[in-house]
Point group: C2
Chain length 72, copies 2
DNA sequence: TTTAATAGTGCTTTAAAATGCACTTTTTGT
DNA sequence: ACAAAAAGTGCATTTTAAAGCACTATTAAA
């Protein structure tokens, strides 16, 4: 999963749940400014930040083995 | 996937591939100090760092939806 | 057991993430 | 079209990740 995809996933998931950035920020404990920056494609979140956000959105960060020769 | 699990996964995968920290650091472009710190359980890597390491190890970071009531 | 390789730690510096505040822009609902 | 809500941006500060270096500790090979 590419860098930008992860960001996009968070944003899409939040929107799907109809949660505002403000609410997500409050629920996750991540600063609003941080979330805004993150979602607008800037920055390089730490695993902790990503984890906090994912958690509230009912998602989780994981590592999986890439399957070779399966370019889409 | 929990925070510490991700760290553990990286380490285990590296060891399975019989790659030293030094080599992984070189190949991934992540500083050796950073990798050492990371693997020894300290720190909070950025998504970029995690991505670089995962990449070399043939893994990728992903976000998945947590399946409720499936504790284990 | 000795030594060579690999892994972990303390200290320090630099770069950047995280944050708040105030403001602008965009989106949405009436 | 207008107003309200939500999202995005600039600026400044604090915190901390990333990094190198030198050292210690642990592990593996002779």
């Amino acid at each position: 999963m590419h860098f930008t995809e992860i960001i996009k996933t968070i944003k899409e998931r939040r929107e799907a749940l109809q949660v505002t950035q403000e609410t997500l920020a409050e629920l996750s404990g991540v600063g609003l400014r941080t979330l805004k920056q993150f979602e607008s494609g800037k920055g390089n979140p730490t695993l902790l930040t990503l984890h906090k956000l994912s958690d509230v959105l009912g998602m989780e960060v994981c590592l999986k083995i890439k399957n070779i020769a399966a370019d889409k």
